[in-house]
């Protein structure tokens, strides 16, 4: 018993230390800067911030845009999740892979692409959506529909079709089957997906910043504006705390909603079914989503290939320069190399910490207290999901400049921050896999004489190998596109690609904008290649043709 607890403590110690030093301390440092003015606690000042009308507007806008983005993502994502995971469609896998790309596209790229699409000169300029909240919601939906497809699609694919068939045989129409059998069975996946999407929407930074500018601000962009433009640290800290509270409440609610009467999942691999006439609606919705995903990307690509009024590669050729009027300190190509190097570091960091966390939280508990400890740890490690990347970035900047941990100039600082941002995603990818392994398999291995480590190698490793690679791919892609924390931490002479793109967009000059488009295409292509490679790694579904 004591040994079990020691092992648990030992395994948890590493990740907790990492999280403590690189997450809790910076965030606390940032927050305390707001609460402590001239050495004394100033709660009144913080309350005063929270009473500002602008803060109310920002909070309201954050909540409703996130809610609208979540609703739209579910609405577009669910039919596609069904069509791409349950129907035997031609090019099913390719379309699925394509629809995953937006999720890992750098936010800055998506912002640029949507402006290109919806701007006055863009193909959809006549809609007059540029600079409106609708554009922001569209941008959020673009990202997150793929989250819904991924999370719900995987659950849907493994869903046993027979309860639905039993219901149909009892006289339930397809709609009734969906409402009374399928959706309740998908509830855990649906709640998870909706929660994650809401979180992503509510903490979205790059998209809102590029599409909303100063007019429409969410808590996240407001924190950025307050710290960098207005230097109002107290207000920024107050907003950080507000955001943290909102998100913790949300996570707790989601955990409650996710609990089901019977958590054991019986995964099966049903044969995908040939589409029928009744699937027309679902197929149309999938087509719509596909168009919605392709339109901004194609517009972006087309825009990058225009110079003046002609087709040209000039924008791409300019990528090894520093732009018009010396907009940049280093050429874009060097920024790309920086990005790749950073992403490699961030990936191994996120993976090693994430794997430890996964092992800690998925081991079967023997007592109620142990279970509570593990559940608590699980929640703690999800915190980076709820804390603004901007807060994290700024916090790291202001706290890590003293004593032994002077990392400000270290090339590892940016990867560390990015690894923390990617960590929840890694953990969420691995936990369901390890939690889904029947503990009796390990017991069987142990009874045959395998040591705990050996049992792990025999039972856990084969199951977790591919998900681990997938998690690596995602961590890599997230790191490539990370902008919130990186925008604070990347040194001017060592910028990453998203930072450079943002800078180019902000600088006047046609070539600079063209270079921003070209760089966006390069970044999008790089992440897409990574994600598609990850998608290839997936085990081909048993029984699929």
């Amino acid at each position: 018993m004591v040994r079990r607890h020691l092992t648990l403590a030992g395994l948890a110690l590493g990740p907790l230390l990492v999280l403590g030093v690189f997450f809790v301390v910076p965030v606390a440092g940032m927050v305390s800067r707001g609460f402590v003015v001239d050495g004394s606690l100033d709660v009144g000042g913080v309350l005063e911030v929270l009473a500002r009308p602008r803060v109310h507007r920002v909070l309201w806008f954050t909540l409703w845009s996130a809610a609208a983005g979540t609703a739209a993502s579910l609405l577009l994502g669910l039919p596609a999740a069904y069509a791409l995971h349950r129907l035997d469609l031609p090019l099913r896998r390719s379309v699925r892979a394509l629809l995953l790309v937006p999720f890992v596209l750098p936010t800055v790229v998506v912002g640029v692409a949507f402006r290109q699409l919806l701007g006055e000169a863009g193909p959809l300029g006549f809609l007059g959506l540029d600079g409106t909240p609708a554009a922001i919601v569209l941008g959020l939906t673009f990202f997150n529909a793929s989250v819904v497809i991924r999370a719900v699609g995987a659950a849907w694919e493994g869903l046993d079709p027979r309860p639905g068939e039993a219901a149909a045989a009892l006289g339930a129409t397809p709609l009734q089957v969906l409402l009374t059998v399928t959706l309740p069975a998908l509830r855990p996946a649906l709640v998870s997906a909706a929660t994650v999407v809401f979180l992503f929407c509510a903490t979205a930074f790059g998209v809102v910043l590029t599409l909303g500018g100063l007019r429409y601000s969410t808590i996240e962009t407001e924190i950025y504006l307050l710290t960098t433009n207005l230097l109002d640290l107290q207000a920024a800290a107050a907003l950080s705390v507000l955001q943290l509270v909102v998100i913790v409440v949300l996570l707790v609610l989601a955990q409650r909603l996710r609990a089901t009467a019977d958590p054991t999942v019986q995964r099966v691999q049903p044969r995908p079914r040939r589409p029928r006439r009744s699937d027309a609606g679902v197929l149309a919705a999938t087509g719509l989503l596909l168009a919605f995903v392709l339109a901004p990307l194609l517009t972006l690509l087309a825009g990058s290939l225009r110079a003046g009024d002609a087709w040209s590669l000039a924008n791409y050729r300019a990528l090894d320069t520093t732009g018009e009027n010396q907009a940049l300190l280093v050429p874009v190509t060097e920024a790309l190399l920086n990005s790749l190097r950073t992403a490699v570091d961030a990936t191994w960091m996120a993976l090693s910490v994430g794997l430890l966390i996964t092992v800690v939280v998925t081991r079967r508990s023997q007592t109620a207290a142990e279970r509570r400890v593990r559940a608590g740890l699980d929640a703690v490690f999800m915190l980076p999901l709820g804390v603004s990347a901007v807060t994290l970035g700024f916090g790291l900047l202001v706290t890590l400049h003293s004593g032994v941990l002077d990392l400000r100039d270290s090339p590892l600082l940016v990867p560390i921050a990015q690894a923390l941002v990617a960590l929840p995603l890694v953990v969420r990818t691995l936990v369901p896999v390890l939690a889904g392994i029947d503990d009796r398999q390990r017991q069987a291995a142990a009874s045959l004489g395998a040591s705990p480590l050996r049992a792990m190698l025999t039972v856990d490793l084969p199951a977790v190998r591919r998900p681990l690679l997938a998690a690596a791919g995602f961590a890599f892609a997230v790191s490539l596109g990370e902008f919130g924390a990186t925008s604070f931490l990347a040194r001017d002479d060592r910028p990453t690609l998203p930072v450079v793109i943002f800078r180019l967009v902000g600088h006047p000059g046609e070539l600079n904008y063209g270079m921003a488009l070209a760089a966006s295409v390069v970044l999008a292509a790089t992440t897409a290649v990574v994600v598609l490679a990850v998608e290839r790694l997936r085990v081909p579904s048993v029984g699929a043709s």
Binding site: P163, A166, P184
Partner: protein, 342 residues
């Protein structure tokens, strides 16, 4: 004729899972389709339910073709091997599922649920969740759910196979009784001949997508159409040629070229037509199981009463129980045509 299948074929790619099957099922009868796993019997059942597309042939019910009738309008009910209860609904809500779909008023619904739970012996389980039930209880709930709206046809997909032997025997006779009481027309598919014998009136033996034999239970039992069918029905061996003739003669039956024998077909007695030596003896609670070496026949299974003091090497006299042997085929000459190649 309630259910009628004419030349039904279900095809996956090149595989003909169901190959030109024709079957008729009169109202109020229970037909068992018996076959080894992978023979296409479940696919056949799913095609009847409207869950698998029929490549050609037709399925009709009460004279109406079902080709354009989707599953939920067929008025059937389907019960799976493992029940497939809705895990998020309590027992009573599972049973009431189809009643709710039909907007049966709450009071009548509650009465009906109680009545059904009484029928399957689960009164008091109303508020339990499926996860808290044993396998047998789940199957009972699944049966109650399927019977709730009195389906025109009940489709049973190996309803008892997931249960342990003792429970399976008990539930099989319960199932028989319940179907009888409700007067339900039912199509049962199973690989377990005991289950088929307990529950059904009629039987169809299926192999590699085809129906190889069809008839009343006793009929099929008495005259299995070929070797595979005989073995599948629980006969332990099939004798051919001279051996078959000798055993048939010993049983006092007319000659045939092939004969299926059960383990207990040969019985050690004081006087009888066949003599040989005991090769092995094993004791069971009910009888002695012997292997006897009969000159000209080789080693065969036999039984003896528990008090017959026999040991390996002892001489033994056996008789043949004519009810425990079955000549094969419609006629020996037709046999080759029915036998299905690998």
């Amino acid at each position: 004729m309630a259910l009628s299948l004419t030349d039904v074929t279900v095809q996956y790619g090149d595989l003909r899972a169901v190959d030109d099957v024709s079957l008729e099922l009169p109202a109020g009868q229970v037909l068992a389709v018996l076959g080894p796993s992978g023979c296409g019997k479940s696919t056949l059942l799913r095609a009847v339910a409207g869950l698998e597309p029929v490549r050609h042939g037709s399925i009709s019910f009460d004279g109406r073709d079902l080709a354009d009738v989707p599953t939920h309008r067929r008025g059937f009910a389907l019960m799976f091997q493992d029940g497939q209860l809705f895990a998020h609904l309590t027992v009573s809500r599972n049973v009431a599922y189809a009643l709710r779909l039909r907007r049966v008023p709450a009071a009548r619904r509650a009465d009906r649920v109680l009545e059904l739970l009484d029928l399957v012996g689960l009164v008091g389980f109303e508020d339990r969740l499926p996860a808290t039930l044993s396998g047998g209880e789940r199957q009972r709930v699944a049966l109650a759910r399927a019977l709730a709206v009195e389906p025109r046809l009940l489709l049973l997909d190996e309803p008892l196979s997931a249960l342990d032997t003792a429970l399976r025997g008990r539930l099989a006779s319960d199932l028989r009784h319940i179907l009888r009481v409700a007067g339900t027309t039912a199509l049962l598919v199973t690989h377990d001949h005991e289950e088929a014998f307990t529950v059904a009136d009629e039987m169809a033996v299926m192999r590699q997508g085809r129906i190889v034999q069809r008839g009343g239970l006793a009929e099929v039992w008495r005259r299995p159409v070929d070797v595979d069918t005989a073995l599948f029905l629980g006969y332990s061996r099939v004798l051919t040629g001279a051996a078959a003739h000798r055993v048939l003669a010993a049983a006092g039956l007319p000659a045939a070229d092939a004969l299926a024998v059960r383990r207990s077909a040969l019985v050690a007695t004081a006087t009888g037509p066949l003599t040989g030596r005991v090769a092995a003896v094993r004791s069971t609670p009910e009888q002695l199981r012997l292997v006897v070496d009969l000159p000209g026949l080789g080693e065969l299974d036999a039984v003896a009463p528990l008090d017959a003091h026999l040991a390996p090497g002892d001489p033994v006299v056996v008789r043949v129980d004519p009810t425990r042997v079955a000549p094969l085929g419609r006629d020996a000459r037709e046999d080759g045509g029915v036998d299905v190649g690998p």
